[in-house]
C-alpha cells in the first residue's frame, strides 16, 4: 500500500516503503510513537509490493452458448459446445418456468457446467460426439402418424383391487349390471362390458357373428362367394323380375310351419339368446345394416373383420333373396334371420298395391326387425301398432289384410317377399315431414366409413325416412332403438308459469321509508327562527332547561356554550360545545330518524355517546357489549343499522364518526382538516370488531378519513359543525354542500330551540310560535 509518514512541519520520509522498514530507518526520536502505531495499524503488512498485488485472476471464458456464437473461438468452446447445449436443453426444459421466476437459477446452471470441460480426459470419456449438434432436417422430424392407433384388444374388466388397509376384503363381488342399455352410452362402462363373469359365453375371443341359419352347411364357401358376386351384378344391372337365376339352388330351407300366421308372442329362445349374446359381445354401436360403428373412430381389427364378414353375409342374403324371388318361397324363412330388405332392388308398384300391402308390410317388417339381431329397430311392435292404427281407417281391417296378403303372396310373391316396404314408394316421393335432413346426412356419413355400397345407402335413407315419417312424439318414441340416446328433456320442468300479471301500486316498506325520507328531506331546513323561538332560546340559555318534573335537563352552562351572546354576563363566555349538548342533539336526530321504525325493528339510526370514544381511545375492547345492547344494536343487529353516529372528542376538538354497516364504511367528518381521522377510523373499526366478531371482516371495511364536511373558519365551531353534519346525514342531505358555514350562528340558536323542543323544527315550526 502506498502511504507516507508525515508530520506537520516535517518532510515526508519514506515513500512507498513498508512501515517496518520505516520504523527501522527512522530514528526513534523523530517518529512519534503514536504515528508509528498509526502507521502499523493502517498498513497490512506486506513485505513487498510484488507480494501486495494480488495475482491477476485468469478470466476463464465461460462456455458461450452455441446459439449466440456461430463459430466457437477457442478449442475449449468448440468442445464444450455440445455439452453445454445438451445440459441446457435438459435443464431448460425442466426449469423453464423456474428460471423465469428465479434469476439465480441461471447462475446456478452456469456454475454447474463449468467444471467438467476443464478435464480433457473426462471429455473423452463422457462425450462421444464432439462435433456440435446440427439441426435436424425437416424430414428427420418425426411427424405424427396419420393412421389412427389401432387398439389391439378391448379393455378387460379390472378386478376389484384388494385394499390392504381395508378391514375386511370386499365381501360382495363387483356388481356388474348386465342390462346392456345402461352401459350402452357410457364409455367408462366398457370395462364392465367384457366382464368375465358372464355365465356361459366365452367372450375373451373377439366377437364373431353368429352363423346365419339360412346358409346351408352343405354348400361350399367358394360357391357362395361366386353366387354373391353374380347376384350382386344381377341386382345392379337388371330388374329382379327379369332375372332368372335358375342356376343357383335355393339356399334356405323353408321352415315347417310357414303357412300359419306369425305369432308375435312366440319367441325363439335360441334366437333370443343369440341376440343377447350378440348385444353383449358388441360394445360398438351398430349400424342399420348391422355393421359395427367404431367407437371414437378407432376401428379394431376384430371389428374390421367382423364388418367384412357381415358384409359378406349381407351380400349372401341379398343373393339369396334375389334367388328366392322366382321360386315361390313362403313368406317367412325364419323370423330371426337377419335379412336386409334394403338390399332389394327397386320395384315399381301401383298405388293400389301399396295401399293394400303397406300395413302388412309394416307389420311384417316390424316383426322381422324385432327379432332380427342386427337390425336397428328394437321396438317395432309399437311402431307396427301405430302404423296399423294410422292406416286402419283407410284400409281394410287387419285380418282381411292378412288374408289378402296370403293370397297376394301366392299371386305375387316378388312384391310380397322381396320388395322392400319403404324404398319403392318413399324414394320417389319426398318424405312428408323431413324436418331433419341433416340427421339423414349424418347417418349416411356414419355409414360411409365402413363400406359405401349402394344398397347400404339406400337402406339408410329409407330408415331415416321412416323415422322422419313418424309424426307424433309417441311414434317417435316408439321408433327409438336401443342404441339411440335418450331424448333430451328439459332439465327442470317449470312448476309454474306466469299467466297473469297484476299491476299493483304496492311498495315495500323500505321504498315507503325512502320516499317519506325524501319528502321529509327539505322539511327541516336551517332557516332562522321566529322571534318567539328566539326569545325562548334566550330564556333557555339564561335559565337552563328543566323537564316537567323539575329535574334539570340542561344547565345554563351547557346552553350558554351554544348561544353565548344570550347568556348572562356573569357566566363565562365560552362558545365551545360540551358533550351534553353534542350527545343530546345527536340522540335527538337519531330519535327523529327512528320515528317510523317498528318497535321490534333494529333501529335505523343509532348513536354512541362521546364518552364511548374516550374508552375506545384507551382500548377498543374496553367497551362492554352492554353498551351496544342498550342501543338495540347488539351483535349482528348492528349490521342492519343504516347509520351509527359517534361524536369524537379528540382533546378539545369535536369530529363526527359515522358507521355505515350497509356499505361497510366508516367515515370521519372533520370540520377542520383531517388530522387524526385515520386513527379515529381504525380505532372505531377495532371497536366494532370486538362487538361483531367474525361477522365483521376488517379487510372488507373501508375507512373514509375525509368525509366531505364544510370547514369551520374559526376555532370555536367544530362542535356545531359535527352535530349539524349528523343532522344533515340523518335527513339525507349530505350531497353536494350539506350546509353553508354561514348558517352556523343560526344553527346555534336552532340547536337550543330543538333541544328545548325535543325534536327537530320543521319550516312551519321554526317560523311559527314557540309553545309555552
Amino acid at each position: 500500500m502506498e502511504w507516507t509518514l508525515s508530520k506537520p512541519g516535517m518532510a515526508p520520509i519514506g515513500q512507498r516503503l513498508s512501515p517496518m522498514l520505516v520504523a527501522a530507518i527512522k530514528p526513534i526520536e523523530q517518529v512519534p510513537v503514536a504515528h508509528m502505531f498509526q502507521a502499523v495499524r493502517n498498513c497490512n503488512f506486506r513485505w513487498s509490493r510484488q507480494a501486495q498485488r494480488a495475482p491477476p485472476r485468469r478470466r476463464v471464458p465461460l462456455p458461450v452458448r452455441p446459439q449466440q456464437v456461430q463459430e466457437p473461438a477457442t478449442v475449449v468452446g468448440e468442445v464444450v459446445a455440445p455439452i453445454v447445449e445438451r445440459k441446457r436443453r435438459v435443464s431448460d426444459q425442466r426449469d423453464e418456468e423456474d428460471n423465469s421466476m428465479r434469476p439465480s437459477k441461471r447462475r446456478h446452471l452456469d456454475t454447474d457446467i463449468d467444471t467438467p470441460w476443464k478435464d480433457q480426459a473426462w471429455l473423452k470419456e463422457h462425450v462421444k460426439d464432439l462435433t456440435p449438434p446440427q439441426k435436424k432436417s425437416q424430414e428427420q422430424i418425426i411427424k405424427p402418424r396419420e393412421t389412427p392407433i389401432v387398439r389391439r384388444s378391448l379393455p378387460k374388466i379390472l378386478a376389484p383391487r384388494y385394499n390392504p388397509y381395508m378391514r375386511s376384503p370386499r365381501r360382495t363381488p363387483l356388481q356388474v349390471d348386465k342390462s346392456i342399455h345402461l352401459y350402452r352410452d357410457d364409455p367408462n362402462a366398457m370395462e364392465f362390458w367384457w366382464s368375465d363373469e358372464d355365465e356361459d359365453e366365452d367372450l375373451s375371443s373377439p366377437p364373431k357373428p353368429a352363423p346365419t341359419k339360412e346358409q346351408p352347411a352343405n354348400e361350399p364357401a367358394q360357391k357362395d362367394t361366386e353366387k354373391v358376386e353374380n347376384a350382386k351384378d344381377d341386382v345392379e344391372k337388371k330388374d329382379i323380375a327379369a332375372t332368372t337365376p335358375s342356376v343357383y339352388k335355393e339356399p334356405t330351407p323353408p321352415p315347417s310351419d310357414t303357412g300359419s300366421d306369425w305369432d308375435p308372442n312366440e319367441v325363439d329362445p335360441e334366437a333370443a339368446r343369440e341376440y343377447r349374446r350378440f348385444l353383449r359381445a358388441m360394445p360398438e354401436s351398430v349400424d342399420e345394416q348391422g355393421y359395427k360403428v367404431p367407437i371414437e373412430g378407432i376401428i379394431s381389427p376384430e371389428t374390421q373383420a367382423w364388418n367384412a364378414q357381415h358384409k359378406k353375409e349381407l351380400e349372401l342374403q341379398a343373393a339369396a333373396t334375389a334367388q328366392e324371388t322366382p321360386s315361390k318361397a313362403p313368406p317367412s324363412t325364419s323370423p330371426f334371420t337377419p335379412q336386409s330388405h334394403s338390399l332389394q332392388p327397386r320395384q315399381q308398384k301401383t298405388e293400389a298395391e301399396q295401399t293394400v300391402l303397406s300395413p302388412l308390410r309394416k307389420l311384417w317388417d316390424g316383426a322381422r326387425s324385432f327379432f332380427s339381431p342386427r337390425s336397428e329397430q328394437k321396438l317395432p311392435l309399437r311402431e307396427v301398432e301405430a302404423a296399423i292404427e294410422e292406416e286402419s281407417p283407410v284400409s281394410t281391417p287387419m285380418e282381411d289384410v292378412q288374408e289378402e296378403d296370403i293370397s297376394a303372396a301366392d299371386s305375387d310373391p316378388i312384391k310380397k317377399e322381396t320388395g322392400s316396404p319403404a324404398t319403392p314408394s318413399k324414394d320417389s316421393e319426398t318424405p312428408p315431414n323431413s324436418s331433419n335432413p341433416e340427421e339423414i346426412k349424418e347417418e349416411e356419413e356414419d355409414s360411409t366409413p365402413q363400406t359405401s355400397t349402394e344398397p347400404e345407402e339406400e337402406a339408410t335413407v329409407s330408415t331415416a325416412q321412416k323415422k322422419a315419417n313418424l309424426e307424433t312424439p309417441a311414434k317417435q318414441l316408439a321408433s327409438l332403438t336401443l342404441h339411440d340416446r335418450a331424448p333430451k328433456t328439459p332439465h327442470r320442468t317449470p312448476k309454474a308459469t306466469i299467466h297473469q300479471t297484476i299491476k299493483t301500486d304496492r311498495k315495500t316498506r323500505y321504498q315507503k321509508l325512502l320516499e317519506e325520507r325524501e319528502a321529509r328531506r327539505d322539511a327541516y331546513p336551517l332557516i332562522p327562527l321566529s322571534t318567539s323561538w328566539d326569545a325562548r332560546v334566550r330564556t333557555a340559555v339564561q335559565n337552563g332547561v328543566k323537564d316537567d318534573e323539575g329535574y334539570t335537563k340542561y344547565n345554563d352552562t351547557d346552553l350558554a356554550r351554544v348561544v353565548p351572546q344570550y347568556s348572562r354576563g356573569s357566566l363565562v363566555r365560552d362558545n365551545w360545545l360540551n358533550d351534553a349538548v353534542v350527545n343530546d342533539y345527536i340522540s335527538l336526530c337519531v330519535k327523529h330518524g327512528n320515528k317510523d321504525d317498528r318497535p321490534t325493528q333494529v333501529p335505523s339510526y343509532a348513536a354512541f355517546s362521546s364518552q364511548t370514544w374516550q374508552k375506545i381511545q384507551a382500548d377498543p375492547k374496553s367497551v362492554p357489549s352492554r353498551w351496544w345492547k342498550r342501543q338495540g344494536i347488539q351483535g349482528k343487529r348492528a349490521l342492519e343499522c343504516l347509520k351509527i353516529f359517534m361524536p369524537v372528542n379528540t382533546g378539545n376538538h369535536w369530529t363526527l364518526a359515522v358507521m355505515t354497516p350497509k356499505d361497510k364504511n366508516i367515515t370521519i367528518y372533520n370540520s377542520m382538516g383531517h388530522h387524526r381521522n385515520q386513527f379515529v377510523g381504525e380505532r372505531i373499526l377495532a371497536f366494532m370488531k370486538t362487538e361483531l366478531g367474525a361477522s365483521l371482516v376488517e379487510s372488507e371495511w373501508t375507512i373514509n378519513a375525509k368525509g366531505v364536511s364544510p370547514q369551520q373558519r374559526n376555532s370555536d365551531d367544530c362542535g356545531v359543525f359535527s352535530i349539524t353534519t349528523a343532522r344533515q346525514i340523518m335527513l339525507g342531505r349530505m350531497e353536494g354542500t350539506p350546509y353553508e358555514s354561514e348558517v352556523i350562528p343560526v344553527q346555534r340558536k336552532r340547536i337550543v330551540a330543538e333541544l328545548v323542543n325535543g325534536g327537530l323544527l320543521s319550516i312551519e315550526e321554526s317560523k311559527g310560535d314557540a309553545k309555552k
Partner: protein, 96 residues
C-alpha cells in the same frame, strides 16, 4: 342521601330484593352504593359528587354508555345488582 351509602344500614332482610348494590366509579375511585330500585339516581349522583368533591354540572354519569339523568331510577334503567355507573368528566371541544 348519605344514608343510602353502603356503610350505614346493610341488612334489612325483607327488603333485600329491593336493594341493589351499585358501583360508581371514575377511573380512580370506586364507591359502592346500596339503593332501592325505585330511588331516583339523583340522590346517588349528588352523594357521589359530594363525597368526591366534584361539581355536579361537570360530571356525567353513564350507565351502559347512556347518560343518566337525575330522574332515572334503577328500575327505569333495568339495572341489576352489581352494575356499574361510570363517571366521566365533561368534554369540551372547539378546535384542535
Amino acid at each position: 342521601m348519605a344514608d343510602q351509602e353502603q356503610s350505614p344500614n346493610g341488612g334489612e332482610a325483607p327488603q333485600a330484593t329491593e336493594h341493589l348494590n351499585i358501583k360508581v366509579t371514575d377511573n380512580n375511585n370506586e364507591v359502592f352504593f346500596k339503593i332501592k330500585r325505585s330511588t331516583k339516581l339523583e340522590k346517588l349522583m349528588n352523594a357521589f359528587c359530594e363525597r368526591q368533591g366534584k361539581e355536579a354540572k361537570t360530571v356525567r354519569f353513564l350507565f351502559d354508555g347512556t347518560r343518566v339523568t337525575g330522574q332515572d331510577t334503577p328500575d327505569s334503567l333495568d339495572m341489576n345488582d352489581g352494575d356499574t355507573l361510570e363517571v366521566h368528566q365533561e368534554q369540551i371541544g372547539g378546535s384542535r
